[in-house]
């Protein structure tokens, strides 16, 4: 079951962040960026679908990707607190994306290395999913980095909005890099990555982007945690009420 749990976590991050980004659709600061955010949302939701489908397959309880995506209780979702944070303004959105992509890209890359040579079918499937995803996340990382720099080094207003975003979101940056029992088990089974090992690279990358953006890491660096274990922020229940509405209101229907 470790593999199942491990995949679900990856998928939950993608679904919930994809959901948040999808809230921008039609409301972006200008058309080109409206489309860019929708693109990223589509990538992430696409990744989550492939992962839920894989999880459903290995679980062989006859669940579908939608059963897993829509019909769990709040505490069963294991996404990071970072990805469920509200969109805020565009500064918050691009910073949240930068933090997440700085974790997700090295994670996927490290997983791909571990999966090399593994021949069991579900590992091969996962490798295929991650290979495609790496290309997508590379773009998400570049897009968000460019915007953080542009806004940090843009006007006085955009700089001050970036500072506010950093002060509010930095506390959610670190959870991704704290391992727990599921990570440990996945590491011992050969495909999992110890997130602590990804931290130095991510920190250095954020440092570099912040320098170019004239932004500072906050002094208080206590990191909020809990999402990975299903203890979410108060925002999560509202998000799930929307996400699950149709499946809850019309149980057992096909769409």
């Amino acid at each position: 079951m470790t593999f199942y749990d491990y995949i679900i976590r990856l998928a939950d991050n993608n679904l919930i962040l994809g959901h948040r980004l999808s809230e921008w659709c039609g409301h972006g600061p200008f058309l080109e960026q409206d489309m860019a955010m929708t693109n990223i949302s589509l990538d992430l939701i696409g990744q989550s679908r492939s992962m839920y489908a894989l999880a459903a397959e290995i679980n062989s309880k006859g669940e579908s990707e939608d059963d897993i995506a829509f019909l769990r209780l709040e505490h069963e979702y294991q996404n990071l607190l970072l990805v469920e944070q509200p969109n805020g303004d565009f500064a918050h959105t691009v910073l949240r994306q930068l933090f997440f992509a700085s974790f997700q890209l090295p994670l996927y890359q490290a997983m791909l290395q571990k999966l090399q040579g593994m021949t069991e079918e579900h590992f091969v499937t996962l490798r295929g999913i991650l290979e495609k995803a790496v290309m997508e996340v590379t773009y998400h990382k570049r897009w968000s980095s460019e915007w953080v720099i542009r806004l940090g080094d843009g006007t006085a207003e955009s700089h001050s909005r970036m500072v506010t975003a950093v002060n509010e979101l930095y506390r959610y940056y670190g959870e991704a890099f704290i391992s727990d029992a599921v990570d440990d088990a996945a590491v011992s089974e050969g495909y999992g990555v110890r997130p602590e090992e990804l931290k130095a690279e991510a920190d250095q990358y954020i440092d570099d982007i912040f320098r170019q953006a004239n932004l500072n890491i906050p002094v208080d660096t206590y990191m909020q945690r809990g999402g990975k274990q299903g203890v979410h922020s108060e925002y999560m229940g509202y998000l799930l009420s929307e996400l699950q509405y149709m499946q809850r209101a019309y149980p057992n229907a096909s769409w």
Partner: protein
């Protein structure tokens, strides 16, 4: 010799010979104005049209539907982009066009002033609203202004995909539970007549049709297009085992009759009294205003980069 008259003759003869008018060609002022009005109205419709369906993105019943709906709405944003670009070739900027939308000077298709209340509306909008739009737009692929015609060719391909996708949403509902079937019929009932009014007022009341036909901006009249749409939809609805309100086969004309349309209500919606006019416009204005600092920052940053590059070139 009267040069303007001569230019006009050249212009009309190009039109008559199906030669496209290009941005640098001479064109009558009224032709330019008509096109700017029509293309911008079309572009605004794409953008405002993102809102009713956008209302359902976070509530789709499945992930497959979520991805499809997001991609569809993103297509509409892309259509808006091509069309704003086509309008810009006529000597107006996107900022000016948006300003006209936000101040209420420019119009957009009134259909988007109706609310999307149920999941079935995602089907009805695709099938009926995109469907009606295609009827209009297929003819615009052959419109006389080159950049508009070329934009429309790309757009039409995607619109017919939306049309099928919408129908497929309804087809799934029509084969589902009793609650789904009810949702399906209720939605069709609500969207049918507003969709018919998308073709514009009856020909005898349409002020723009005659000149637009002469210039081949439009190539078929409102009533001709509307009847064709009714005849097609009346056949398609049979596959859903649903009905279209007030639609009956007329043996003597060989067409489907569709009953009276409430043009008073239509003009009220156009004037701003539709159920969602205020919300749609407010949402667009809010997005634009909330985005102002982002656009300013992007400009300021680009300016700084330019200066940095120039000083690098100098010191090198």
């Amino acid at each position: 010799m009267d040069t303007t008259k001569n230019l006009e003759e050249i212009f009309q003869s190009k039109i008559d010979h199906e030669i496209k008018i290009e941005p640098k060609d001479w064109m009558p002022d009224a032709y330019r104005k008509t096109l700017i009005r029509q293309i911008s109205q079309h572009a605004h419709s794409e953008i405002v049209g993102m809102l009713p369906e956008g209302n359902w993105i976070t509530r789709t019943p499945s992930l497959r539907r979520k991805v499809a709906l997001l991609a569809k709405i993103q297509d509409e944003a892309g259509h808006g982009l091509y069309l704003y670009s086509a309008a810009e070739t006529l000597g107006i900027t996107r900022d000016q066009l948006l300003d006209e939308l936000h101040t209420g000077k420019a119009k957009y298709s009134s259909i988007f002033n109706y609310p999307a209340l149920t999941w079935a509306d995602m089907g009805s909008v695709g099938w009926l609203v995109d469907g009606a739009a295609i009827m209009n737009q297929v003819m615009l692929c052959r419109t006389s202004y080159g950049p508009y015609a070329r934009a429309m060719v790309r757009i039409c391909k995607e619109e017919s995909f939306h049309h099928r996708q919408g129908f497929e949403i309804l087809l799934t509902l029509s084969q589902g539970t009793e609650a789904q079937k009810k949702m399906c019929q209720e939605s069709i009932n609500r969207w049918w007549k507003p969709a018919l009014m998308m073709f514009g007022p009856p020909d005898e009341q349409s002020s723009n049709t005659e000149m637009s036909m002469k210039w081949k901006i439009k190539r078929e009249t409102n009533d001709e297009l509307r009847q064709r749409f009714v005849d097609v939809a009346a056949e398609q609805v049979k596959f859903l085992n649903m009905t279209l309100p007030d639609v009956v086969w007329n043996e003597s004309t060989g067409h489907y009759d569709f009953g009276a349309l409430d043009w008073d209500h239509f003009w009220n919606v156009v004037k701003g009294n539709g159920p969602c006019n205020k919300q749609r416009l407010d949402a667009r204005i809010k997005a634009h205003e909330n985005g102002a600092w982002v656009r300013e920052a992007a400009l300021a940053f680009a300016e700084k980069q330019k200066i940095r590059q120039q000083s690098q070139v100098k010191t090198a």
